[in-house]
C-alpha cells in the first residue's frame, strides 16, 4: 500500500496505524500467499501467468520494502524511490493481469475480441491522457499530488476497462466463467474505491490520511477474499481459437441489413409522437 504525506512515504505508515489496520495488512499478505498456493495447487498458473506474476510481485514488493526501510529508514529518499519504483512495476503487472483476464473472457470470439481490445486500449489511453492533462493544468504542483494523480489515473483506467469489458460481455451475450468474472470484478471494485479514495486524499491530504490507509487496506482485503473464493476450485480454461466461423462476407452482408431493419423499427417508434390528428 502507499501513502502520500509530503514526501510520499510507503507501507511504513501501515506499521504505525491502529491494530485493526495492522491486522488487515498482515492478513492481506497471508491471503496473497494463499492465493498463489491456490493457483499452483489447481494448476492454473499456465492459464493466468500474469495474474500469478502480479501476486508474486506483490509479495516480493513487501519483502523489498521491508529490507529498504530497514537499511535506509522510512523517510529517506532511497526508500522513497525503491517504494515508488516497485509500485510502478506492480502497476504494469496489474495492467497485464487485467489484459489477460479480458482476453480470457472474450478471446474465444475472434471477431468480438478484435473489436474489444482496440476499444479497451483506447479507453485506457484516453483516461490516462486526460488525467495527465488534468494533473498538468493544476494550479499547484507537488510530488505528492503527482503521485496521487498517477495512481488515480491507473486505477480509473483499470476500472473503465473492466466495466467496458463487462458491457461487451453483456452486449454480445457472451457466456463466461464466473470465476474469471470474479477476478475481474475484484480488480474493478478495488480500483473504484481507490479512485474515490485518491480523489478525497487529493483535497484533504493531512486530515484524510488515516482513513485513506484504512480504506485501502480493507478494500484490498475484500478484493483478495473475492479472488480466493473465485480460485477455490480449478478453473477450466479452454484453448483459444474457434474453428466454426462464418465467412467474413456473411457478416458484411447481414449486419448492414439487420441495422437497416432496426433503423426502420426505431423510426416507427419516433413517428408515433409526431403523428398529427387528421383534419375533419
Amino acid at each position: 500500500m502507499i501513502s502520500v504525506y509530503g514526501r510520499a512515504t510507503m507501507p511504513s505508515k501501515m506499521l504505525d496505524l491502529q491494530t485493526s489496520q495492522q491486522f488487515g495488512w498482515n492478513l492481506s499478505i497471508f491471503l496473497r500467499a494463499f492465493l498463489l498456493c491456490l493457483l499452483i495447487f489447481h494448476r492454473n498458473i499456465r492459464s493466468f501467468p500474469y495474474f500469478a506474476a502480479y501476486l508474486v510481485a506483490n509479495l516480493t514488493k513487501a519483502v523489498i520494502l521491508h529490507l529498504a526501510y530497514g537499511a535506509w529508514g522510512m523517510d529517506s529518499w532511497p526508500s522513497y524511490f525503491v517504494a515508488w519504483g516497485s509500485e510502478a512495476g506492480l502497476a504494469c503487472l496489474r495492467a497485464l493481469a487485467v489484459a489477460e483476464l479480458c482476453r480470457r473472457l472474450l478471446g474465444h470470439y475472434r471477431g468480438i475480441w478484435s473489436l474489444a481490445w482496440r476499444v479497451l486500449l483506447s479507453c485506457a489511453i484516453l483516461i490516462v491522457g486526460y488525467s495527465a492533462i488534468d494533473a498538468a493544468s493544476a494550479p499547484q504542483h507537488s510530488l505528492a499530488q503527482g503521485v496521487i494523480a498517477a495512481n488515480r489515473a491507473i486505477e480509473l483506467a483499470v476500472a473503465v476497462v473492466i466495466v467496458v469489458l463487462f458491457a461487451f460481455l453483456r452486449h454480445y451475450q457472451v457466456a463466461s466463467d464466473p470465476a474469471i468474472r470474479s477476478l475481474a470484478l475484484g480488480f474493478c471494485a478495488y480500483s473504484c474505491v481507490s479512485v474515490v479514495n485518491f480523489t478525497i486524499l487529493d483535497k484533504f491530504i493531512n486530515a484524510y490520511l488515516p482513513v485513506w490507509n484504512f480504506l485501502g487496506v480493507f478494500t484490498y482485503l475484500g478484493c483478495l477474499t473475492l479472488w480466493a473464493w473465485a480460485l477455490r476450485k480449478a478453473i477450466a480454461v479452454p484453448p483459444f481459437g474457434s474453428p466454426s466461423l462464418f465467412a467474413k462476407a456473411v457478416y458484411q452482408r447481414i449486419s448492414p441489413e439487420v441495422n437497416a431493419q432496426l433503423r426502420t423499427l426505431n423510426d416507427q417508434l419516433s413517428q408515433f409522437w409526431r403523428t398529427e390528428e387528421p383534419q375533419p
Binding site: 474465444h108 470470439y109 471477431g111 468480438i112 478484435s114 473489436l115 482496440r118 488534468d134 488515480r152 480509473l156 476500472a159 466495466v163 463487462f166 458491457a167 460481455l169 453483456r170 454480445y172 451475450q173 457472451v174 457466456a175 470484478l185 474493478c188 473504484c192 479512485v195 474515490v196 485518491f198 480523489t199 487529493d202 479452454p238 474457434s242 474453428p243 466454426s244 466461423l245 462464418f246 465467412a247 467474413k248 456473411v250 457478416y251 458484411q252 452482408r253 447481414i254 449486419s255 448492414p256 441489413e257 439487420v258 441495422n259 431493419q261 432496426l262 433503423r263 426502420t264 423499427l265 426505431n266 416507427q268 417508434l269 419516433s270 413517428q271 408515433f272 409522437w273 403523428t275 390528428e277
Partner: protein, 190 residues
C-alpha cells in the same frame, strides 16, 4: 476537477450494475444459436388481421354514438392494452433482430466498428423511446387518435418485419450450416 472522478466512478458503478445483471439469454452454445436462427422467421403476426379488425376506429365511434359510456370506457381501456401488447411485440422483434446480429457477430472473424457502433446507438434510442411510450400509454396521456395510428402502423410494420426477419434468419441459418459442414464440428464458438 475532483467532481469528474467521483462522477466517473458513479457512472461506472451504474454501468457495472447493468452489465452484471443476468442477460435474457446467452450465446453460449450451438443449440442456442441454432434455435435462435431457426426461430428468426416465427412471428406473432399470424393473428394480426383479427386484432386490427378489433381495433378499428369505426367500432369505437359506433359505441360512442350509441351512448354507452361504460362500454366506451371499457373499449378504450382494452384498446390501450392491445396497443401495449403491440409495443411489446415490436420490442420482441427488435430484440430478436439484435440477437440475430449478436450470433452473426460472435461467429464472424472480424467486425465492422461502424456497424457495431450504430447498432448500440439504435438499441439505446429504441429502448428510450419504447419505455417513454409505455409510460405514456400506462399513464393514459397518449391521445386516442395517436393510439389508432400507432396500432395501425404497428400491424403493418409487423407484417413487413416478419418477411424481413424470416429472410435474414434463413440466410444466417444456411451460412451456419455451411460453416459447420465445412469443419464438421458444429457452430459452437466456445
Amino acid at each position: 476537477m475532483s467532481f469528474f472522478y467521483l462522477a466517473a466512478v458513479a457512472l461506472l458503478l451504474i454501468l457495472l450494475f447493468w452489465a452484471l445483471r443476468a442477460p435474457r439469454k446467452q450465446a453460449s452454445g450451438a443449440k442456442n444459436e441454432n434455435a435462435l436462427l431457426g426461430q428468426a422467421g416465427r412471428r406473432h403476426a399470424t393473428y394480426l388481421p383479427l386484432i386490427r379488425q378489433a381495433l378499428s376506429a369505426g367500432d369505437l365511434a359506433f359505441v360512442a354514438s350509441r351512448g354507452f359510456p361504460e362500454l366506451y370506457q371499457r373499449l378504450r381501456k382494452e384498446r390501450r392494452g392491445v396497443a401495449l401488447s403491440y409495443l411489446t411485440a415490436l420490442h420482441e422483434d427488435f430484440s430478436r433482430l439484435l440477437d440475430l446480429a449478436t450470433v452473426v457477430a460472435a461467429l464472424s472473424p472480424e467486425l465492422a466498428p461502424t456497424q457495431e457502433k450504430e447498432r448500440v446507438w439504435l438499441k439505446v434510442q429504441f429502448t428510450w423511446r419504447y419505455q417513454l411510450l409505455r409510460v405514456a400509454l400506462h399513464a393514459g396521456v397518449f391521445p386516442q387518435h395517436k393510439l389508432d395510428i400507432l396500432t395501425h402502423q404497428v400491424s403493418e410494420l409487423a407484417v413487413r418485419m416478419e418477411t424481413a426477419i424470416r429472410e435474414l434468419g434463413e440466410r444466417a441459418a444456411v451460412a451456419a450450416k455451411l460453416a459447420s459442414s465445412l469443419d464438421g464440428r458444429g457452430v459452437d464458438v466456445v
